[in-house]
């Protein structure tokens, strides 16, 4: 780790002010990606702004419209929430399969979406359910939030405060994990979302994406068979020693089929 200033922010505004004034300052939420990055000397921030001490950012609230989860809510809290499980069971299920117990007890929703790792699970839930991201400045639709590989619509002085997930009909997430890291090689969230059927794919490409052809087929007939023969192109898919682009493309279909089957 290189030396840096450590500041524990007392409010979202204070945190936003620090990172807004300094391009080299960085927010720290659960630290599940950033602490290892620092330890390996792969980042040299001027200031690390810990937002873990800000009150009121880790709430989970359920109403008739859906579930609103605070940015600092741990994955384990989401997974264990009976309210989430009752309102959107697929969301609680997804959270219960992120990382391992240590990661789930430290990692946060806000940290995950702001980092936008191409193999993270939460982006599939946000896009798959048509969620909205609340920041200290505005509301951003999930479809606009995730813009590219580790890229989001967030501005330098913008801090995620919560995410609202609308209630859905049938929904499920299926992940084919990387055997080593257990991140998603391909993860598919299929849902009868509030604004129509959504099929969101993580892990396969540089950023979460939707599969329109599958959405249309499922809107017409919600069954695993509807997507079983819909192939996605391997062009632009991620490739590594664990999965070729062709294999990832194939797994999108398999996981979509299985997600629909799991959703019932």
């Amino acid at each position: 780790m290189y030396n840096f200033e450590y500041k524990k922010a007392g409010s979202v505004d204070e945190a936003a002010g620090i990172v807004g004034a300094d391009d080299e300052a960085k927010l720290l939420a659960g630290g599940m990606t950033y602490i290892p990055t620092l330890k390996q000397r792969l980042a040299a921030p001027t200031t690390v702004v810990d937002i873990g001490g800000i009150g009121g950012l880790d709430g989970i609230a359920v109403d008739g419209n859906g579930v609103t989860i605070g940015a600092m809510a741990r994955h384990a809290a989401v997974a264990a929430s009976t309210d989430v499980a009752a309102a959107i069971p697929a969301l609680a299920d997804l959270a219960s399969h992120i990382g391992d117990p240590q990661v789930r007890n430290r990692g946060t929703l806000g940290g995950s979406v702001a980092n936008n790792d191409p193999a993270a699970d939460y982006p599939a839930a946000l896009v798959g359910l048509g969620a909205t991201v609340q920041t200290n400045k505005r509301t951003i639709a999930a479809d606009e939030f995730f813009t590219g590989l580790f890229e989001t619509a967030l501005g330098q002085d913008e801090v995620v405060t919560s995410v609202s997930f609308p209630r859905a009909g049938k929904a499920a997430y299926m992940k084919f994990p990387n055997p080593a890291s257990r991140y998603a090689i391909v993860g598919v969230f299929a849902a009868q979302a509030a604004d129509g059927v959504r099929v969101a794919v993580t892990g396969a490409g540089p950023c979460v994406f939707r599969v329109g052809e599958m959405e249309a087929a499922l809107a017409a007939n919600w069954s695993a068979d509807s997507v079983a023969n819909i192939k996605v192109s391997a062009d632009g898919m991620n490739e590594d020693i664990h999965a070729s682009a062709e294999y990832r493309a194939h797994l999108v279909t398999v996981m979509a089929k299985r997600a629909v089957a799991k959703a019932g």
Partner: protein, 784 residues
């Protein structure tokens, strides 16, 4: 068997401190005035060193010293301790391996310089400021083509990137046997390269005391005296009597902590130059890059069968990747620990094996759990299983008709081993029962109905353990003897300290060895303490590797205990006013035959230290040391049966059942043995399905972290069905054979034979380890 003697399933006493976080590992030690080392490592696989500028770094805060290869010219290079004689009668080529590179770097991670500073952060900062001018060269990475004509040369002294070409067997006779065969099975495959991944990374602290001229080296070693010997005799760092080597609690070795590495040589040398103790602990990335890797063979293998399925002959050509330099025991692994096991459990008529050991721009490869024997078992058992499938025979039956019969021992194999004893068919039968073999077809049909492919695979492995008779290994090129030592020391109050030359780094010696002492001397188990790992305390010992500690170290303990009993008999006879010949020893009591006159061994010990009423001329004290040199290797063997189910849609392989029946001879502690079997199978499953050290064409290690290198997790392995069929070895006083490596030796072939069996149905005939989902899926696509 007593309650806590030999054969008792005593819970491991060392686990209390380990599971409560109270172990004392090297990194837990901090010495007064301690400084920290950071190594500047090559980011290139192959490059000339055109200059190292340390000026700016040397001026940075806290820096005590920066050293490069030329500074250490007085220190001898790292050695290979086993000399192979090649097919031309020439010694193997072992190019110089300076602890810090001189003139050239040969793998990513090769140490170029060391920075020593007051804090680790300061050392890292200064290391980053060391400027190295590299002249980047193309890298040699693929062992299969490393020795090809026109290939880039890594070492001037190893033309063709060849360390040696070595062979065993009569090639012409074997070729003739193949001519007359009814069937020949031919396979080509790789034995995948593995990273050892001990839980505790390598670490060392070197300290020099100017007042006495004494060096102390704390480090992660499986064999502290071997470290001391090599560092004294070959590196010239300090004479043996002025160098103390301490290997405290060590968190796993799997072979990787046998070897003498650059870091400990550099720190020991530098500790005198900076006048401060120096600590270095590998970060996980350094472990991936610089711990010696394992396996990495490319093999063509053939098996000739007659019309009845009897094995006539075997012909094997192997290219073994040595990495950039020859590590401490690297040359022995693909030769005497590999080709000599190619007879397996079978009466194969003749065997020829040719091995080319090649250099590549990768980290050195050396012994890793099983060391040569997993590679041999994989060759034999893949061939046998393929032969069964090709000739339409049941794989269990084909094995049985070729097994060395139980009445044929001692049995001389065509590859210079003499098996002492065994019951190969008995172990097979027991394994078939445990595996529920008769119900397999029904289970396969059930899987098929669910869209899955099910397969079953066998592995009837044998290994040579209990390394090793010193004269025998000496004649084959070993630079050391491979005996073991033990010192049984009674204290006046009757408790016992056992000092062993073995080193426990996960094996449970502190428990099992105490059981041996308790059993042999009749002392309560709780009153026996086992001490190991400190050259200032223990007698010279050869350490722990090669499943040797029970067979060799345990036998030394028995010999020392026997000496204690013989001396105690004299003391008791005198005290009981009887003739020595009339004293019987049993259950801790010396008894005058036919009477109730007796003396407990604790009383004898007290008398030995307070010799008021004592035999004339007998030395006081009860403290006996023994050295044991084994008569032969021991030969653990058994049959493992694995059953897998494959999801053809994703390529995922799931192990549904795993049955293992092993002959380890006498079991000292069945609980520990079972744990060793579980751990070994876990690593074998890792090799077969998950683990792979992958270098790209530039020699960069792609699987250089746990994000990409797949270690087996609990949900990757099944609940094992483990059984034993022990035939006591007649060649050592305990009748033991060794159990530490068996699982890792047997499992890869069992798993891969099951995977091949499952995939045969969809037309796949060949798949390499690790059988990852990607590979399995791709193989199914390619066959379709």
């Amino acid at each position: 068997m007593t309650e806590q003697g030999i054969g008792a399933a005593v819970a491991r006493r060392e686990d209390r401190r380990f599971v409560t976080g109270q172990g004392h590992y090297t990194d837990d030690i901090n010495r007064r005035g301690q400084t920290h080392a950071c190594f500047v490592r090559s980011p290139h696989a192959h490059a000339t060193l055109n200059g190292v500028d340390t000026e700016a770094a040397g001026a940075m805060p806290g820096v005590r010293g920066i050293f490069v290869g030329e500074d250490m010219a007085e220190v001898g290079p790292l050695i290979c301790g086993w000399a192979i004689t090649d097919v031309n009668g020439e010694p193997h080529r072992a190019p110089p391996h300076p602890a810090l590179a001189i003139g050239k770097v040969n793998f990513v991670g090769d140490a170029v310089a060391v920075v020593i500073a007051d804090t680790l952060e300061q050392a890292k900062d200064a290391a980053a400021a060391v400027e190295v001018d590299y002249g980047i060269l193309d890298a040699v990475v693929d062992p299969a083509t490393a020795a090809a004509d026109g290939q880039i040369q890594i070492h001037e002294t190893a033309p063709g990137n060849l360390s040696y070409e070595w062979a065993i067997g009569d090639r012409a006779a074997i070729d003739a046997a193949f001519e007359g065969a009814a069937h020949v099975t031919s396979l080509e495959f790789a034995n995948n390269r593995l990273v050892p991944n001990a839980m505790e990374p390598r670490a060392c602290i070197a300290e020099y005391e100017d007042g006495t001229g004494d060096y102390t080296l704390y480090l992660t070693s499986q064999n502290p005296h071997v470290h001391r010997l090599v560092m004294s005799a070959f590196h010239g760092l300090a004479p043996e009597h002025k160098l103390r080597v301490v290997a405290p609690d060590v968190g796993g070795g799997f072979g990787s902590k046998i070897f003498i590495y650059a870091e400990e040589v550099v720190l020991t040398w530098a500790s005198r130059h900076v006048g401060r103790p120096i600590k270095w602990t590998a970060e996980r990335t350094e472990s991936f890059l610089t711990d010696c890797h394992g396996r990495d063979h490319v093999t063509e293998a053939e098996l000739a069968l007659d019309g009845d399925g009897k094995f006539l002959a075997m012909r094997v050509n192997t290219i073994a990747n040595m990495g950039a330099y020859l590590s401490t025991f690297a040359s022995a692994v693909p030769t005497y620990l590999y080709a000599t096991l190619l007879a397996g459990q079978y009466t194969t008529g003749g065997i020829y094996c040719n091995v080319k050991a090649v250099f590549t721009n990768t980290v050195p490869v050396d012994a890793y759990r099983g060391a040569g024997r997993p590679e041999a078992a994989y060759v034999v058992e893949r061939l046998v299983e393929a032969a069964a499938a090709e000739t339409g025979r049941d794989p269990a039956e084909l094995r049985k008709i070729n097994f060395v019969p139980s009445d044929a021992f001692p049995y001389e194999t065509p590859v210079v081993m003499q098996y002492d004893c065994g019951d190969f068919s008995g172990s097979m039968d027991q394994a078939l029962d445990l595996a529920g073999y008769s119900g397999f077809q029904a289970r396969r049909a059930e899987s098929k109905a669910g869209g899955k492919l099910r397969g079953i695979g066998f592995s009837s492995y044998i290994e040579a353990c209990g390394v090793a008779p010193s004269a025998a290994v000496g004649s084959l090129g070993a630079g050391v003897g491979l005996w073991e030592s033990a010192n049984v020391r009674f204290n006046p109050t009757g408790n016992v300290q056992l000092f062993t030359g073995c080193h426990s780094h996960g094996q449970g010696h502190e428990t099992a060895f105490a059981q041996i002492v308790a059993d042999k001397l009749g002392v309560p188990y709780e009153q026996v303490e086992v001490i190991h790992g400190d050259s200032a305390k223990i007698p010279f010992g050869m350490g722990t590797y090669g499943s040797r500690s029970a067979a060799v170290g345990g036998s030394a303990i028995v010999k020392a205990a026997d000496k204690v009993i013989e001396k105690g008999r004299k003391i008791a006879a005198h005290a009981l006013e009887a003739s020595e010949d009339d004293i019987e020893f049993a259950g801790g009591n010396f008894t005058v035959t036919g009477t109730d006159k007796a003396m407990n061994i604790a009383e004898v010990a007290f008398t030995a230290y307070v010799p008021h009423n004592y035999p004339e001329g007998l030395e006081p004290g009860l403290d006996e040391t023994a050295f044991y040199d084994p008569l032969n290797f021991s030969f653990p063997a058994g049959t493992h049966i694995c059953e897998v189910e494959i999801d053809p849609e994703t390529g995922s392989v799931s192990i549904e059942k795993y049955a293992a029946v092993d002959d380890f001879g006498v079991l000292i502690n069945p609980l520990i043995v079972e744990g060793q079997v579980h751990g070994g199978i876990g690593q074998g499953v890792g090799q077969a399905m998950l683990e792979h050290a992958v270098y790209d064409g530039d020699g960069q290690l792609i699987s250089g972290s746990y994000m990409d290198y797949t270690m087996p997790r609990a949900d990757d392995v099944p609940s094992y069905d483990v059984g034993f069929n022990g035939v006591p070895s007649p060649l050592n006083p305990l009748g033991v054979k060794g159990c530490g490596e068996a699982g890792a030796i047997a499992a890869p072939a069992a798993v891969m034979n099951a995977v091949h069996d499952a995939l045969r149905e969809v037309g796949v005939s060949h798949i390499e380890m690790p059988a990852t989902p990607l590979r399995v899926w791709q193989a199914i696509q390619d066959a379709a």
